[in-house]
């Protein structure tokens, strides 16, 4: 009984959470803003990487493969720290926000590239043959036939990826960006009460829940059309 009371006092403390809420929400807004921007750059760069990787031309293909393997194979936390602490030595001074944005965009581009590649390669060969036999060139075929269909197929996995990115943005707390987790940490330290972590976890859940619902919805809808 005593332990349960302690658990509630330290991890579900209503008054601590209530006081911290405005600060936490400010952190949450930054988390959302940051994640959208990182996803935006990740999608653009990821699409370029995917097309490079599919290409038969070696100077496009191999750098893309190397890039993807490197960013998927090394810890994101180290990429973030490198961008923040190491880049200044070669004259690139980035604020925590921009260093984090750089690392997370580059990192998510690697994952997004693989999603796009799978989506593009899932389009039946017959689609490309039909398009080419009408006289459309490679880029017209990509632009009007392959990508519109691939984009529909990759929306669910892309949204999944976005959920992961949003949670990964909590790693920015190590380079002093006051996003949601860092906000929770600062108040937890100040009040000597980690209830704010619980609150932060719920806020993450509240943000991601509609997104995962969106994935389910899209998956069902595309099943009907296909």
């Amino acid at each position: 009984m005593e332990n349960l009371q302690k658990l509630i006092r330290y991890y579900f403390n209503y008054s601590v959470i209530k006081d911290a809420l405005p600060f936490l929400l400010k952190g949450a807004v930054l988390t959302i803003k940051f994640s959208f921007i990182a996803e935006f750059f990740g999608v653009i760069f990821g699409l370029i990487l995917a097309i490079m990787k599919i290409s038969k031309i070696k100077v496009f293909k191999y750098p893309s493969i190397a890039y993807i393997e490197f960013f998927r194979g090394t810890p994101l936390l180290m990429q973030i720290m490198f961008a923040y602490y190491a880049l200044p030595y070669i004259g690139i001074n980035l604020s925590g926000f921009f260093a984090g944005l750089l690392a997370l965009s580059l990192n998510s581009a690697a994952y997004i590239a693989e999603i796009f590649r799978a989506g593009i390669e899932s389009i039946e060969r017959g689609q490309i043959e039909a398009s080419r036999s009408l006289g459309m060139n490679f880029f017209q075929t990509m632009r009007y036939i392959v990508l519109p269909q691939a984009l529909r197929r990759v929306t669910p996995p892309l949204t999944n990826d976005f959920i992961i990115l949003l949670k990964d943005s909590s790693l920015l707390s190590v380079i002093a960006v006051v996003e949601l987790l860092r906000a929770a940490k600062e108040i937890a330290t100040w009040k000597v009460n980690p209830s704010t972590y619980t609150a932060a976890a719920f806020i993450y859940l509240l943000i991601t829940l509609p997104l995962s619902q969106l994935v389910h919805y899209l998956e069902r809808r595309y099943k009907i059309i296909d």
Binding site: E124, G126, Q127, E129, A130, S131, R132, S133, L134, G135, M136, N137, Q140, Y144, I145, P148, Q149, R152, I225, D226
Partner: protein
């Protein structure tokens, strides 16, 4: 119109076409038959450069299209192809399927392209389906949209690759009727099919292919009633 000289095609070690020689006049309808794996489809696909010939030459209106560095997109504009599995674009309506390439390749305005697309769809009997997506069409309707899509590019030659093989029997007639009227209108056609009724009615000439070579070339009448090659005879007996 088409001249094929000693055409060979290899896929790795697999020698699919072993020296095809052929001439086709304008407005001629050539029907290709043969067992599966005989190279009919590969031959057809070589004609619009979906497959690259390993050896040999293809001339269309005197221009060698197998020459390296030729603008394949230009060649393909003039040669329409219809596939066994339709290959309609599922994200576009029937109208979108037919009007896309004329806009992007022939640089027609959207209005003009859609206007002529509607005419094409009307021609194949689908004027009431212009706004349907492929998933909402039957196999026979899909195939007729595919024919309209190829015709919208105003090709000189039309290739048909077993276009009725994937269709339910009751849907085949509608597609064949469209092909017959196309043949009557003077289109130059190469048709891979097992529809012997079509071959007899619309074909000017028939070729029996087996094992990558032309075994027999004949008029449809003679091919059916008096085949010269024993393998032709055996094949026809098996399918008729």
């Amino acid at each position: 119109m088409i001249k094929v000289v000693n055409l060979h095609k290899k896929f790795g070690d697999l020698h699919v076409l072993k020296g095809i020689n052929l001439k086709l006049r304008k407005s001629e309808v050539l029907v290709l038959i043969g067992p599966s794996g005989s190279g009919k489809s590969t031959f057809l696909r070589c004609l619009n450069l979906l497959e690259e010939a390993t050896f040999g030459k293809i001339f269309i209106e005197g221009v060698e299209i197998t020459k390296p560095g030729i603008d394949v997109n230009k060649v393909r504009q003039k040669i329409g192809i219809v596939f066994q599995l339709f290959n309609l674009f599922p994200h576009l309506t029937a109208l979108g399927n037919v009007s896309l390439a004329p806009q992007k390749v022939l640089k027609m305005s959207k209005k003009d392209a859609e206007h002529s697309a509607k005419e094409m769809l009307n021609k194949v009997g689908l004027s009431d389906k212009i706004n349907s997506f492929p998933a909402q069409l039957s196999g026979g309707q899909k195939q007729r949209v595919a024919i309209a899509r190829a015709l919208a590019m105003n090709p000189d030659i039309m290739l048909f690759d077993e276009v009725t093989s994937a269709l339910d029997p009751e849907l085949i007639k509608g597609v064949l009727d469209v092909m017959k009227s196309l043949a009557l209108s003077g289109m130059t056609m190469v048709v891979v099919t097992h529809e012997m009724g079509f071959a007899r009615e619309a074909g000017d000439r028939m070729i029996f292919m087996d094992d990558g070579i032309i075994m027999e070339e004949n008029t449809p009448e003679n091919m059916f009633n008096n085949p010269q090659n024993p393998r032709t005879k055996k094949f026809l007996e098996a399918i008729l």
